[in-house]
Symmetry: C2
Subunit: 312 residues, 2 copies
C-alpha cells in the first residue's frame, strides 16, 4: 500500500492506494497557500497519516509516500524547485515528508504523476505512453516502460509549451503561439467569447444570458450539440487546434497510446472522434500500428493515485 498526496493551490488531498490503484480511503483539507511551506508540509503529513488510520491500517502497511505538486520539481533530490501558486521555492519536500512520516517519499509534477496513474489504469505494458491534460493550461506526462520520463532536469513533458502557431498569442511561459494558448480550457473560453462578441444571435448568446462572464468551457460544446452553427464553428476550430498538437506528439514519439484528460475530456466521443479522424489524415505515413487515442479514465483521482505510484 502507498500514500498519495495531491498538493494543489486550493486543496491538499491524500489517500491510501493499493497495488492495483484502488483508493482505500481519501480525504482533503484546504491548502492555505499563503502559509509558510513548512506548515503546509506538516498538514500534508498529518492528513496522510490520518487517512492511513481511517483506512483501518497502520504505517507498517505503507511502503512509501508520494507527492504530486504543481510546478517544477527536482524528483531526484525530492525538491520542489518552483511552484508559483503556492509560493514554494526550492523546498525539500521529500526530506520533510520522510521526517514526519518515517517513510521513503517521492515527488513528481502533478500532470506527470497523473499520466503515471492513467498508464497503470490501462493495465497493459507499453513502451511509450502519454497523457495530455486539457485544463486551465495544457499539461502532460510521458511514461516510458512503466516509469515517468522527466528528461535531463525533471521538467520534460511541458507539451503545452510547444509552439504550434509561430508568431501567435503570447503565452504565460514567454513564448508566442504555444499550443496551450489554443487548446486549453482558457483558450476555448476566449474563442467562445470572441465568437459571441462578433455575433449575438447564436444559441450560445442565449445560454449565457447575454453576459460574456457566464461563458465556460462547456458553453460552445453544449450549444454545438444542439445544432448552433456559431458554436459548431468554435468547437471545430478548437478541436483542430487540439489535434494539431496531438499529431505533433505522434509524429515525434509514435507512442503506443495517448490519453486525453482534463475538464474538456468530459466531452468524451464528441471530442475524441474528430481528433481520431484528424490523426488518421495528418499523422506521418507509417506501418500497420497507430497510436491509440483514448479519453483518460481516472478523472480527478489521477493525481492522487499517480503520486502514490511514484513508489511503485
Amino acid at each position: 500500500m502507498y500514500i498519495g498526496i495531491d498538493l494543489g493551490g486550493t486543496n491538499i488531498k491524500a489517500g491510501v492506494v493499493d497495488e492495483s490503484g484502488k483508493i482505500l480511503y481519501k480525504d482533503a483539507r484546504p491548502t492555505g497557500a499563503h502559509r509558510p511551506a513548512d506548515e503546509i508540509l506538516k498538514d500534508m503529513a498529518e492528513l496522510a497519516m490520518d487517512t492511513v488510520k481511517n483506512a483501518g491500517l497502520t504505517l507498517d502497511d505503507i511502503k512509501s509516500v508520494g507527492v504530486g505538486s504543481p510546478g517544477s520539481v527536482d524528483a531526484e533530490n525530492g525538491i520542489l524547485m518552483y511552484a508559483g501558486n503556492i509560493n514554494f521555492e526550492n523546498v525539500p519536500v521529500c526530506e520533510k515528508i520522510t521526517k514526519y512520516t518515517g517513510k521513503p517519499s517521492y515527488l513528481g509534477n502533478d500532470a506527470n504523476v497523473a499520466a503515471l496513474a492513467e498508464y497503470y489504469a490501462q493495465d497493459k505494458e507499453m513502451e511509450c505512453f502519454m497523457a495530455v491534460t486539457l485544463g486551465t493550461g495544457v499539461g502532460g506526462g510521458i511514461v516510458m516502460n512503466g516509469k515517468l520520463f522527466t528528461g535531463t532536469n525533471g521538467v520534460a513533458a511541458e507539451i503545452g509549451h510547444m509552439v504550434t502557431h509561430a508568431g501567435g498569442r503570447a503565452c504565460t511561459c514567454g513564448r508566442h503561439g504555444c499550443w496551450e494558448a489554443y487548446a486549453s480550457v482558457s483558450a476555448l473560453i476566449r474563442q467562445t467569447k470572441e465568437s459571441l462578441a462578433e455575433d449575438n444571435t447564436s444559441l450560445m448568446y442565449e445560454m449565457v444570458g447575454g453576459n460574456l462572464e457566464n461563458v465556460g468551457g462547456k458553453t460552445a460544446f453544449d450549444a454545438a450539440k444542439k445544432g448552433d452553427r456559431a458554436a459548431q464553428k468554435v468547437v471545430t476550430n478548437y478541436i483542430n487546434n487540439v489535434s494539431i498538437g496531438i499529431v505533433n506528439l505522434i509524429n515525434i514519439l509514435q507512442p503506443d497510446m495517448i490519453v486525453i484528460g482534463g475538464a474538456i475530456s468530459k466531452e468524451g466521443d464528441y471530442l475524441l472522434n474528430p481528433i481520431q479522424e484528424y490523426c488518421i489524415h495528418e499523422s506521418f505515413k507509417q506501418g500497420k500500428k497507430r497510436t491509440e487515442l483514448k479519453i483518460a479514465r481516472l478523472g480527478n483521482d489521477a493525481g492522487l493515485i499517480g503520486a502514490a505510484f511514484l513508489g511503485k
Copy 2:
C-alpha cells in the same frame, strides 16, 4: 566489427566499422534506383563483402550487418515498408541481406541511425539524446539509453513534420505549416529567393549573378557574414524558425543533448550560437541542467556508422 550499409537514392555506401565507430574501410557504388529491389540488395551485399576483404578481414570478424535506409522501416521484421525515391515497398531487406552474407542483419531509418552514430560519437551515457538534421528536409533520431527509439510502429522522430506554423505552407506530408517547410535547406533557399525577388540591391543578388537559380543553402549565410543586411534578415528569420522547433523538442523531452547535423550545420557557431541564445530565453523554466546543444560530429559518415551500430 560490424558492416554498415547506407542505402541512398543516388549511392550505396558500405563500410567496416569497429566497436569505437572507426571506419576501417569504406566504398560506394551507384544505387541504380530504377532497378528491382532484389538487384539493389544483391549489390549492397556484394559491396559489403568486398569492403570486408579490402579491410583485410574475413566474414568471421563481422558480427552483423546494418542497413540505414530512407523511408519508413519495420525494424522489428527487417522490412523496408516504403521508400519513395528507390521504389521499395514492403521489401524484406534483412532476410535478403542475411541470405547473401550469412550474418544477422538489422534495418533502420537513415536519419535515425545517423542519430545513433552521433550518440556513440559523444562517448558518454545519456538517457535521452536527439539528432536534428537540417537537410533537404528536416529529419531526426531519438536515442534512449543507447538504443534507437522508434515508437510503436518504427517511424518515430519525424520531427520535421511537427506543425510550428499552423495554417502555414503546405508540406509534402499533407500537413500545413510543418517545421520542415521553414527550417530545411529547401526552405532557406526559398526564403533567400523571396528576399531577392523583393530587393535586387543586396550583396546576395550580386553573388548569384542576378540569377535566382544560383541560390543555394549557403548564399544567405555567406552574404550575412559579409554584412549584407538583407541576407542577415533572411538568416535571422531562418535561425528563429529552426530554434522554435528545437525549443519545442526541449520542452517536450528535455533531452540530455541535441546535436544539429545536415548541410546547414556546416555553418558551425554562426548557426549554433543564436540557437543557444534563443533556447535560453524560450525553453521552459527548469532546474540547473539544460539540454546541451552541439553541432553534429560525423558529417556524411553518420549514416554508415549508425547502420553498423544497429548490431551493437
